[in-house]
Amino acid sequence: MTIRSDRDHGQRYRPRMSCLKKLEATVLQMQDPSTGVKGTDQKLNITIIPHVITGQDIVAWITKNMNIDNDEAQAFGTMLVAFGYIYPLQDHKKLVLRPDGSLNRFQTPYFWPVQKWKAEDTDYGIYLAKRNIRKKGVLDAYEQEEYNKLHKWMNHKWDFIVMQAKEQYHAGKARQKADRVVFDCQERAYWIVHRPPVSGWQNAMDYGLDRHIDPNVEEIIYTQQAVMRSRVKSSVSLGALAKYITTFKNHDPFLIPCLPSNPWHTDDDSYWELNAVEIPTKMRVERWSFSFYELLNDPRGRADFKIFLKKEFSGENLAFWEAAEELKWGTAASMSEKAEQIFKTFLAPGAPRWINIDGRTMGLTVKGLEHPHRYVLDGAQTHIFMLMKKDTFYRYLKSPVYKEIQKKAISPAPHNFSNRRPSIDPIITWQKEQEEKAKAAAAAGPVDIKKLMASKLDRK
């Protein structure tokens, strides 16, 4: 289904509009004459700029009224400056809030970003032209560049732009000096926000890509099905979530410091090296006991489980599960070949590694294999998995194999020595693994008696 493109022309503010409305509410509070931020009049040459506020007052007000600490208040204040609600008077190009005595002013609502009109290039052109008229050479380097660009692109409109600039300039001259200075500051701040000097980071107006929505879709059938769905009581499922957290609490490096040390913290990668060798750590071995999934997920754990299964002569279950996984996640081209291989090895009557599943599942699987697809073994795989999970896994945890590895496992002591080493590239590790797999497959295949006897005879 392609979306009928109801292009949202309010893109520049749609996802942000609610956020900006909240910001606006806070700014209004800040401007309250009695409970807002206290402002003073500042003298600039001969004119007096009214209602100037200092950075530290703003931060203090935010800290008190929003109940947050200083750092967060400063970050919030920076957002206000970045979106153009407050503008700094000194060093006006850097849009951050400085928590010191530096001077700022509130931007007039006319220039707020929640207004529905977009900051058009035409307007920017008029603004730059106006400044050029007032005093030649007053434009910054980046502004000059933009001016030249706009002059080229909007050449057909240029007369209109210059005319508008002249009109605005004359209208401005008619105002009082103080008002003019204030308006100039406001307009300059507005354009710093919407056309920032350094392209890239400090442009809060940048919102990314346009997003499309299609408001007319109804999903009645789906909702009907959803109503019928079976659910679990909240206490049960939430209890399970809490239990998971408690089980893994000691294994979370953000909750309990990991031993010997967090590699990122101390620049010592023993934590990773220790887990790559023969003898695993105690924590790792403990993790295998949490769930069957954890055991299988860890290659070392899986290998240990295989040793146990070999002793029990039930290795075919895990082998079948692994083969089914390979089929599910494998490349489409090898599908039918793999399916056939699995059938010959595990499912055919009299197969060398025949798995024991109930008749119905077996029947369905064999039937499905006539037209093999990716998920044809799903039923059988789930059955075998459940069998291993509910029975074999618990026997494994009680077995001497597991107990032995628990004894052998080491518990590294914490230390803080630095050792920032490069590691083996995963590509090399992968290649080695593939080689080993191929060797194991060759070794595990049925032994050809004739060849074996022939080689023995040869040696004689």
Binding site: I3, R16, E72, W201, P257, R374
Partner: protein, 424 residues
Amino acid sequence: MCDQTFLAITFGPCDNCSQNKPLMNIYLKNEPINYCSLCVELMACQGLAKGETIHTLKTESETLKAKLEEERAKLHDVELHQVAEKIEALGQFVMKTRRTLKGHGNKVLCMDWCRDKRRIVSSSQDGKVIVWDAYTTNKEHAVTMPCTWVMACAYAPSGCAVACGGLDNKCSVYPLSLDKNENLAAKKKSVAMHTNYLSSCSFTNSDMQILTSSGDGTCALWDVESGQLLQSFHGHSADVLSLNLAPSETGNTFVSGGCDKKANVWDMRSGQNVQSFETHESDINCVKYYPSGDAFATGSDDATCRLYDLRADREVAIYSKESIIFGASSVDFSLSGRLLFAGYNDYTINVWDVLKGTRVAILFGHENRVSSVRVSPDGTAFCSGSWDSTLRVSVRFRFSGESDLRNILYSMVLLFTGIRDYRW
């Protein structure tokens, strides 16, 4: 459906919307009706039968949705924070940035960890995709994509390839090579083809399948080697911005979130939408499964992150604060699931206590929006990518309960022996 024997244009009140407009006199099942052109078109597109209007369908949909909420509420017997009462609170959190990866020339849009726990792939607005060894901060590979806004990148489970895509509407897989001089772009494989930008991609349990989500409102499962579409997932009514595969043993489902404020859970085998949640007030930017696979968290433009329980089939927690008013762009869980890291558009990263619903830490440092936050595969650190073109790897610093005595001892050792190579 509509039997137009003749067409006449008159003016008057429409039979459907009652507005005075130019009417089209059409015959529907041999009955004459006068609809305005808008209503005729809507009727044709919506497949409405006579008597049905947009309004009736909408009301039916609303009633059903209300019924669904009722059913969901029936089994809701306890709140998450009540369950969390017995669990002890977290101590004080101090986070520290330990690595800053600089090298992108433009906004970093996405990043992913390699399973070896130290390598990272990141993509940016100018089309560059870089593979770093974050531990040593070396750049290992770099590819320049032929498009800008590479919003999706993913590391293959084997560590031998990366997938990325963006405004080119495609997802391409680049096999990585040990030869530093080799041009990676030469071996590129184009896998996915959508009709709008690619917003997110992820390998499944192997290198051979990729799951993608796109601005055309669909998700799709592809076979890497042949580029064949294996399954497509339709159900979102707006751009799909993010997806995440379930970590459970059966590994057959994934969740996606989109601009239609919905988070949908899909079955990969059948392509069916299994569950759907619509409680957010604005676009969902990111979805992430809880480590056990029984729940997932979302980050949205309405400045909240929410936790949805799949078995109870409802939203169970909202993570929000009055002082946080900008959208959350990216979320991820810590290893145990106790912490939720969320990157926001106001340049900060907030860390939430999943059970208690409180915020435990806030990180500053980025100079523009945080676009992507991911915890490393072994949970030792998390990496945040931002529009200020840097990536930062941060850890928890100085655990409370870790005695200050140890710190004092070490400082004394430093003082007496003059060892300078001690790192905090």
